[in-house]
Amino acid sequence: MTELVVSNVQKWLGGLQILKGASFTAERGSIVALLGASGSGKTTLLRCVAGLEQPEIGEIVIGGKTVLDGAKKIALPPEQRNIGLVFQSYALWPHRTVKENVGYGLKLRGVTAADIEKRVQAILERMGLGHLADRFPSQLSGGQQQRVAICRALVYEPRVLLLDEPLSNLDAKLREEARYWIRKLILDLEICAILVTHDQSEALAAADNILLLQDGRIVQQGGPQEIYSNPNSFYSADFLGANNIVRAKVRSVDGSRTVIGGDNWSLDGTVREAAGLAASEDARAVIRVEQISVSDRPEAGGLEMTLDDSIYLGDRWEYRLSRGDFVARAHGARQLSTGTVWARIPSESVWVFSAGQH
């Protein structure tokens, strides 16, 4: 069931357009991630959904209720939108205990004190916070505060749960754990959640649908695997994954197959530029680091390259490769001695885009 419809939301800030027509929908029991670099407008878009920012143009419907209509000049304040928002800083009220923080939304909705007590305790127990009900936020750890913030936003069963970089204030180990249980919780409770993040692994691991934002626009949307393995632009390709970016000239084009090359090297690749490419055009290729396999023995179809160094990363080795002006990184399980190596780079993994403007 579609809980959230955002269509053509545009927002200006002092003459600068920071949202340029974002549209998407979100279903119950799924997580939509708004992914993008800082300044891409993802947090602004979330705040527009929450009613904390007022876009000038666009429509937003939450749970069947129109909360924003630019044409009819309808803009409901946040409290009439029936949403839950988890802030990056958690924004727990310092003067209220955990119980009072979580119960506030129920109190505002006129739930009886006994019911509040029951429902608050139930959700706290569920999150493993039952014993902390009477503490103040300052007496909790970062991870506990985050869970309280989620409880507070969930307890009154909002139609849409909005999460603004909820994991960025946690340390690395907690973060991986948290993104797992947040996903599990949302799927269990069958709520509709929007997650804003700049961290691609968070989006890939937690979301069902990823919207990649660039400069106030949604440039690509799709499932995690789709968006990772089938990018439609240089920005999408470059934003996700660990990549080698290669500047080259297009030698020849044959349908979607192409050959690019530079100083003393050439490589088979796939044209990914939507507008297509022409021979002798400047191009940029994106090759995911994990797509290059390196061997110290000659291999058929392998590109002969120089290994400048092997760097130990703990769980693997990173190889620094070069050939002329083609410089690349690759990973492998063991240390290789510097000198000549053979790199196998599948042509479908060499994504060729136009060089763009400078």
Partner: protein
């Protein structure tokens, strides 16, 4: 290639299109717009009505309620041809600039010593340095009269030693010196704040390149705090133009007049109140002070810009003074404290408990409570004390509540009303307490609905409210801004209206700040003396204004007793403020 050549044109085109198509803003619903407009509108009325009445009165030929009053420029003609007016104007200018010449270097030096060096007893000094700011200048001026005036305790002592008194405080230089010394805290406050924000790595960077402490102070520290110094200077010029107590006590006996005392004297000059002349001088005063306030506002913005450049949370490394440095620094501060705190307060403390003194009289033999006993026999004086306490304690709390309402109306307000508020708040700062009191006196006479309130404390309270507006509102806005926006936004997204958010989140969080603000407003109201001069009547006496009228009769014993009570009350207020954790350094 073709795409390359076309791209810039396309961008330019879309930019122009975007500018042309810039759509109208969406209305903000549920942002308490009506509340904000009503509160700010009422405030505007409370501030603009008295000012408007002054301007109106200045163009009349007689008092506004008089049937003979006609529209005309007679009053302006009289004032602008009066030699005394120009003398007062000139004296005011000399007084203000002279005061700045003393207070700014001294305040800057004190700020440097206390914030940037390892001077001993810093915590105590930080509070002591501010004391003169909290005492009303009429009390201070009176304190100087009894200690270093022609027949003051210290003067007599010195005359006993050297045969004559080497100073005369009843002179323009004397007034300037005393005003300059007592306005040091105002400079200290702003400069020390700037110095605290100055990241010491800037100084350390200079030191590592080989500059000495003093070179660093001159070449790095001074230019960095220059905006704060300029701001403090502008503020003090403004305060100089508005000052009333010191010129009244020290200048008046020798006929030295400034603009405020000129207004005050106009009342008595003709036997009947000459409202139109007073209004003209008030208008002139406002025309001088308003640009000063406006300039200050611009300066403050620049100063903030400077402060923002410094790193946040930068650790301030202190300069080591060494033994001789400590002695010199402490002597400077000690001497200043002696002259501007110990001398006047000590003088009053002694004077309040003696009846007679002079050469060859042992003060210890003269100790008596008669001054207080006599005072308690006069009902108006007792009422004055009760009213003062009432106005500052209860009125102070009510004022904080009202400032809070105004503060909330301006809190995260993006509307036009916020700009109005910004300018409305500026106006009272340009109005000397004397003029505000006069204007409200007229308002309560002029508006039939308000007339019954004139002989009550309500009239004084409203005037005090306007006098304390800019300071009080700044205090509250300072606390409100400390509430992180997410704390409010999270309440809104949880389902609270803006009113509920203020009640359940904002106000509980700033409660400690409110208590501190209450204590500070209390002190402001305690020390106020000029506002009540015209407004007070039988039953609504307040200590400060009583002292002003008693000065005319020369009842020194009573003034001394009242001064001491005022100081004790202020001390209690200050202790309460510190106890409540008020940020007197803001």
């Amino acid at each position: 290639m073709s795409t390359h050549t076309q791209a810039p044109a396309a961008i330019a085109l879309s930019k122009a299109a975007a500018e042309k198509k810039y759509p109208a803003k969406m209305p903000r619903h549920g942002n308490a717009g009506a509340y904000r407009r009503i509160v700010i509108g009422l405030l505007a009325l409370a501030v603009l009505a008295p000012v408007g009445l002054i301007v109106y009165q200045s163009f009349l030929t007689a008092a506004f309620f008089s049937p003979r009053a006609k529209f005309g420029f007679d009053a302006y003609q009289y004032v602008f041809t009066d030699k005394n007016f120009y003398r007062a104007l000139g004296t005011t200018a000399i007084f203000s600039f002279g005061m700045v010449a003393i207070s700014v270097p001294l305040g800057g030096l004190l700020a440097f010593l206390i914030t940037r060096t390892d001077i001993k007893g810093k915590r105590l000094l930080e509070i002591l340095v501010l004391v003169p700011m909290f005492i009303s200048s009429i009390v201070l001026a009176f304190g100087y009269t009894v200690s270093v005036g022609p027949t003051g305790f210290v003067s007599l002592f010195i005359r006993g030693l050297v045969g004559f008194v080497p100073w005369n405080i009843y002179s323009l230089p004397g007034m300037i010196l005393i005003a300059g010394l007592s306005h040091v805290p105002h400079v200290y406050l702003y400069v020390s704040a700037a110095m605290r924000n100055l990241p010491s790595d800037l100084e350390e960077a200079a030191r590592t390149t080989g500059a000495s402490i003093w070179q660093v102070s001159r070449d790095v520290t001074l230019p960095m705090v220059l905006p704060a110094l300029i701001f403090a200077a502008a503020l003090n010029i403004l305060l100089g133009f508005e000052t009333f107590g010191i010129p009244l006590v020290l200048g008046d006996p020798n006929g030295i007049m400034v603009l405020t005392t000129y207004i005050y004297k106009l009342t008595t000059l003709f036997g009947t109140p000459t409202y139109q002349l007073m209004a003209v001088v008030a208008v002139v005063l406002i025309l001088i002070t308003l640009p000063l306030v406006w300039m200050q506002r611009k300066l403050l913005r620049n100063a903030r810009k400077y402060a923002a450049m410094g790193g946040k949370g930068a650790r301030v490394a202190t300069l080591k003074l060494g033994t001789s440095g400590q002695v010199i620094a402490l002597s400077i501060i000690g001497f200043w404290l002696f002259v501007s705190v110990a001398l006047p307060i000590g003088g009053i403390a002694v004077r309040a408990f003696v009846d007679a003194w002079g050469e060859g009289v042992n003060l210890l033999d003269q100790l008596t409570f008669t001054n207080f006993d006599r005072m308690l026999e006069v009902p108006s004086l007792v009422r004055g004390i009760v009213n003062t306490v009432l106005l500052s304690v209860v009125g102070g709390a009510a004022a904080v509540a009202i400032y809070l309402m105004v503060g909330l109306a301006g809190h995260r307000n993006w509307g036009l009303s916020n700009t109005v508020l910004d300018y409305i708040v500026l106006l009272p700062r340009a109005l000397p307490g004397l003029v505000v009191g006069l204007a409200f006196f007229w308002v309560f006479l002029f508006v039939p609905l308000l007339t019954p309130l004139r002989p009550t404390l309500v009239s004084l309270f409203v005037a005090y409210l306007v006098v304390g507006l800019s300071y009080g509102l700044r205090l509250l806005q300072g606390t409100l801004i400390q509430v992180a926006p997410e704390l409010e936004e999270s309440a809104r997204t949880t389902g609270a209206t803006i009113g509920r958010t203020w009640k359940d989140v904002v106000i509980p969080i700033i409660r400690p700040g409110l208590a501190g603000a209450w204590a500070l407003i209390m002190i402001i109201f305690l020390r106020e003396y000029a506002t009540g001069v015209y407004l007070m009547g039988a039953g609504t006496e307040v200590i400060g204004s009583l002292m002003v009228s008693l000065l005319q009769t020369g009842a020194m014993n009573t003034i001394a007793a009242l001064s001491l009570i005022s100081i004790v009350l202020t001390g209690a207020g200050l202790a309460l403020a510190l106890r409540l954790g008020a940020k007197i350094h803001d």
